[in-house]
């Protein structure tokens, strides 16, 4: 039943670990993508597109904050989660950490599209989450995500209708394998106190618990299938090639992507591309240089 779990105290150790891991993947995706988005500020092709991407960045930061706030149920604090966590303990997909190719608007738009379709599908699977705080926050996020997808699709269609098509294709070739990591099982983040006496469980087992405990009502595999079946026909309809293979399955067309298409660095398991080290060093630099020990908050609780 949706939202019947009010507190982490109602959960056993494995369930707690699974919930915490799920929240890390949700929060980190949003936060890191927002960091990348802000690089377009004052550099977008027009003032309007600049504001639209800045708007996305601000939305994603707000969503990250909603999820980090739920992680505080496990005794974490925001400054520790965002500014003091080791880069290898971040669990975002490698799609969101990639550098934008300089001035390549097609890269920004394609990434925006691939991510926001995944986000929409993932949020639907969280609507009925057994953890009350997750279920309660989904709708607020969905309201804003609806705009993101419409915005991405408008741009996709316009870019594909002309010389932008080639650049979109290059972006698909480069980013698709990273987008696939959105659906990789997430490894738990080792906690400082437990040190090494308890081996953390394997990502696959943790994912199984996420679904069994009803924190997410669909498995990552189901989310991936839905995502592939949404983005591949859409991209191909625009004249783009994808790594997907079309198969007829019980009289219905289905798209499948081979397992080896997924990027080597998964993000979810703590392995990241070099781009992540640079980005992490950059957004934590002010905090380190000023010797901070707290995150600045404008409001007590995220709204």
């Amino acid at each position: 039943m949706a939202g019947e779990i009010e507190s982490v105290d109602e959960l056993d150790a494995d369930e707690q670990e699974a919930l915490e891991t799920l929240l890390f993947s949700l929060a980190d995706d949003e936060f890191v993508f927002a960091e990348r988005y802000t690089e377009w500020q004052v550099r977008s092709p027009t003032l309007e597109s600049d504001l639209a991407l800045s708007n996305n960045a601000q939305d994603e930061l707000g969503h990250a904050r909603l999820w980090y706030d739920v992680l505080e149920d496990f005794g974490h604090e925001e400054h520790e989660l965002v500014y003091e966590r080791d880069p290898e303990n971040w669990r975002h997909s490698t799609l969101v950490e990639q550098e934008f190719l300089e001035g390549d608007w097609a890269d920004a738009i394609l990434r925006h599209y691939l991510y926001d379709v995944a986000e929409e599908i993932r949020l639907e699977a969280l609507e009925g989450s057994s953890y009350a705080k997750i279920a309660g926050r989904v709708e607020k996020i969905q309201d804003e995500e609806r705009y993101h997808r419409e915005h991405a699709e408008s741009w996709m269609e316009r870019l594909a209708d002309g010389e932008g098509l080639e650049r979109l294709q290059e972006a698909v070739d480069r980013l698709f394998p990273h987008a696939m990591t959105l659906f990789e099982p997430c490894a738990p983040v080792p906690s400082a106190e437990e040190a090494s006496d308890d081996e953390p469980r394997a990502a696959e087992d943790v994912e199984e618990t996420v679904v069994e405990a009803g924190f997410r009502t669909e498995s990552l595999e189901e989310l991936r299938e839905e995502w592939v079946d949404t983005v591949c026909p859409y991209l191909e309809g625009l004249g783009l090639e994808t790594p997907a293979v079309e198969r007829v399955h019980f009289d219905e067309y289905e798209y499948e992507v081979e397992a080896d298409v997924v990027a080597d660095e998964r993000g979810r398991d703590g392995s990241h591309t070099d781009a992540w080290d640079d980005l992490h060093a950059e957004f934590t630099s002010t905090y380190r240089e000023l010797g901070r020990s707290q995150a600045t908050k404008i409001m007590e609780k995220p709204q």
Partner: protein, 105 residues
């Protein structure tokens, strides 16, 4: 292409001009306008209108009136404060009451 943007705060209000956006077509103009002109203000609806489609007439081309003294149209000698109009208010109240009763009957 420039699209003029009109924002309506609540259903039934007038759409009031609030600025413009650059956009290649109507669809994108609506998306940009939503972010640029409605994200931080209470909004019920937004219109986007191609700037070229707006007909304009300015004061250099015509005289808009209001230049001659028409103060004779005002009736400042009538007393308009409410104390002196209590019988009008009472009468209105009685009529409203009567209408309500007819409706109930």
């Amino acid at each position: 292409m420039i699209w003029e943007v009109f924002r309506q705060e609540q259903r039934g209000d007038y759409h009031t001009h609030c600025g413009n956006v650059h956009a290649p077509d109507r669809e994108m103009a609506k998306q940009f306008a939503a972010i640029q002109h409605a994200r931080r203000k209470p909004t019920h609806s937004i219109w986007v209108v191609p700037k070229d489609e707006i007909g304009e007439l300015d004061a250099e081309e015509t005289s808009f009136g209001g230049v001659t003294d028409k103060s004779y149209r005002w009736a400042p000698t009538y007393k308009s404060d409410l104390d002196h109009a209590s019988e009008v208010i009472d009468s209105e109240g009685q009529q409203a009451e009567a209408e309500k009763q007819r409706g109930d009957a």
